[in-house]
Amino acid sequence: MRHTISVLVENKFGVLSRISGLFSGRGYNIESLSVGETIDPAVSIMTIVTTGEDLVIEQITKQLNKLIDVIKVVDFLEIDHVEREMILVKVAPRKEDKPEVLQLAEIFRGRIVDSGQTTYTIEITGEEKKISAFIDLIKPFGIKEFVRTGKVALAREGTRKGK
């Protein structure tokens, strides 16, 4: 099962390696990871996407909690939440395909953030499904470069689901 885990940590040097070391030391894989400061600059939030059996995930969340610099761990699997990811994709379509690429970007509520002689850089934000649908559609036009932020997530207000 795929889990999105949010980890509130002390914003200190070395914290990221404590967390990544916890994963690598046990052979767990991190699929995506995003880190940023919270409103309180002394605290950072990490959003980690990982896959594993229930027991493995339970061990991961417990081990995360055990780290001295970790303040709070939330596994979103049991929680109704919103999640978003942003991608930047630089496509180099043939001249005749350009209108279609622009149209696709529009359909997916993307923005053209840069355009060159032969390329467009498109920004798309959304849930995983939307992102992968867009990638599938844009691929045939020739992706030159591609980058994604990794997922971020927040619980929806007052709609905590039971286990």
Partner: protein, 577 residues
């Protein structure tokens, strides 16, 4: 008034109540050692290797219950501590280790004697710090001692760049320490404790499996009260030995790979297994799918990550073992008046039968010393009142099997990491912590050579540590596996031809060296050794190299699939015929 970082550090140590520090000097810790030079209240014990310093601090911590402290220099000094830190980490031993570091401006430049020790020890410490600003020093030391000694204890390392210890600042001792992200659970959940009491009340064949957590939390008294009240037989992990009296009628000794027949059989036949302060290590469970398969498993531990890590758990109780056991007993007493004696009598009788069926034995031989005989004699001569340290391998297992530990903190052994070379420096630490006790390291001829240089430390500090070398000329445990599972191909396990004369080694260092080659010499040698009060003693017991540790659960087998000494078995069969 401004004082130096080194002075701040020493002030902090005094505030923490530290009396002994184990260490080794070097370039970047010169400032600290300079302050220690005039210090009256803090004694630095100079070991002869940094690994020895950490094991000694570890032995000191295990024997006394206090935090063990060590100071080493940067680079190789720091990397030499890694085995010791990992040893302490696996066994949850509270240590604070100070390593010197190159000046902050040079960090990352591959400076002379630079090592990223914070990075290297990250996976084997409970937490570690690099102090970049002298203003953080006192706070960091305070936090380190707090973290090391609370919750599930463990080693904490503080890396101290030279400019931090050389710099000047005001000394402000933080009155209290509170870390918002670190809040161990000390009290068990009431509902869970009620459930646990019900489980005990309803079980017919319960077994308590006590581990190192019982000793760390100081819960021996509570454990004994619970076991005696509810009439539950107790087995212990290697780390739990002494947590429950080994001579108690309810004790079944150690379980696991070299556990007793009765302990392993009882666990496998139990309907309730209470894991108390254990993590169900693979040396204890054998094949996990076949482990206690008829039992409900209850686990009491302060560390949530220990729970359900290795085996299924039907009832977890997170909390400090001492508190949980106290609450559990209280709850149990409130439950309807049980006639525990009547409820348990069939089960306890069954356990007694198993004990009689296959007790722990070995074949005495009047011509050659059996290693088990030595351990037994140590037990006799010391009347069980000694702190026993061990190395790793056969010596460790025989020490666990043939010495009965009636008190906690009397059996010091590297259980988790299995570190050869642990026992002797640990014994030095234990002797410093407990000057009035007899401290004996039961070693092998392989293990003792892994930290033999600490003889100098023991001699110079007039520590009467005894080392009983069970000298079989082999890396005995590995040889045993080679004999049983590798067609007697003794690949690189023969040591005898390269072994030094241990008596002469001892004497060369100014210690006492004694030797026994015949069984009748064992007791006189031990008695002679015990008379020595101001120097360490090496006792070289030349033992039967063929002797193996039994019973034994082969790797990957269920713990009731034990193999025993075949010859003895044959004899027994003949007797039956």
């Amino acid at each position: 008034m401004k004082i130096s970082g080194a002075e701040i550090l020493v002030e902090c140590l005094k505030k923490e109540g530290v009396k002994h520090i184990f260490g080794y000097p070097g370039g970047v810790v010169l400032n600290i050692f300079d302050v220690l030079y005039d210090e009256k209240d803090l004694q630095l014990i100079l070991t002869r290797h940094e690994q020895g310093a950490i094991h000694a601090a570890d032995g000191y911590a295990r024997a006394s219950g206090k935090v063990g402290v060590a100071i080493v220099t940067s680079g190789p000094g720091a990397t030499n501590t890694v085995t010791g830190i990992a040893t302490a980490s696996m066994d949850s031993i509270p240590l604070v280790v100070f390593s010197g570091q190159v000046p902050t401006l040079l960090i990352g430049n591959d400076a002379f004697q630079e090592a990223d020790i914070v990075g290297i020890t990250r996976p084997c410490t409970k937490h570690n710090y690099l102090v970049k600003d002298i203003k953080d020093l006192a706070q960091t030391v305070r936090e380190a001692f707090y973290i090391a000694s609370t919750g599930r204890p463990g080693p904490v390392l503080i890396d101290l760049p030279k400019d931090v210890t050389a710099g000047m600042s005001d000394f402000v001792w933080p009155q209290e320490v509170k870390i918002r992200s670190y809040n161990p659970t000390y009290h068990g959940n009431k509902y869970m404790i009620n459930q646990a009491a019900q489980m005990i009340a309803h079980s017919k064949k319960p077994v308590i499996m006590a581990g190192g957590g019982v000793i760390l939390s100081g819960a021996s008294k509570e454990l004994r009260e619970l076991a005696e009240f509810a009439k539950i037989p107790v087995t212990m992990t290697l780390m739990g030995l002494g947590g429950f009296p080994g001579t108690h009628k309810l004790s079944m000794g150690m379980l696991g790979m070299h556990g007793t027949y009765y302990a392993n059989t009882a666990v496998q036949n139990s309907d309730l297994l209470m894991g108390i302060g254990v993590r169900f290590d693979d040396r204890v469970t054998g094949k996990t799918e076949a482990f206690a398969s008829h039992a409900k498993i209850m686990q009491i531990d302060i560390d949530p990550t220990s729970i359900k890590k290795n085996v299924r758990v039907d009832l977890p109780v997170v909390g400090d073992v001492k508190n949980v056991l106290r609450d559990l007993l209280k709850t149990l007493k409130e439950i309807k008046e049980q006639q525990w004696g009547a409820v348990r009598s069939a089960w306890l009788k069954q356990v007694e039968r198993w004990k009689e069926e296959r007790p722990l034995t070995y074949r005495f031989d009047k011509n050659i010393i059996k290693p088990e005989f030595v351990v037994e004699k140590i037990y006799e001569v010391t009347k069980g009142e000694a702190i026993i340290c061990t190395e790793v391998g056969q010596n460790q297992m025989w020490s666990a099997q043939f010495f009965k530990y009636d008190h906690p903190r009397r059996f010091l052994s590297s259980g988790g990491l299995g570190t050869m070379g642990y026992g002797f420096p640990a014994a030095i630490g234990a002797q410093l912590a407990c000057p009035d006790k007899i401290v004996i390291d039961i070693a092998g001829d392989g293990s003792i050579q892994m930290n033999i240089q600490e003889l100098a430390t023991a001699v110079i500090n007039k520590l009467p540590v005894k080392v009983a070398i069970l000298n079989n000329g082999y890396l005995g445990m590995v040889r045993q596996w080679q004999e049983l599972f590798f067609k007697e191909r003794y690949s690189h396990t023969h040591l005898e031809s390269g072994n030094p004369d241990f008596v002469k080694v001892a004497e060369a260092y100014g210690a006492v060296g004694l030797r026994a080659t015949k069984p009748e010499e064992v007791e006189p040698v031990l008695k002679e050794a015990l008379k020595v009060k101001n120097r360490p003693v090496f006792m070289d017991f030349v033992v039967d190299w063929k002797e193996k540790v039994f019973p034994m659960v082969p790797a990957g087998a269920a713990i009731d699939q034990m193999i025993f000494d075949e010859e003895k078995e044959e004899k027994k069969l003949k007797a039956v015929k």
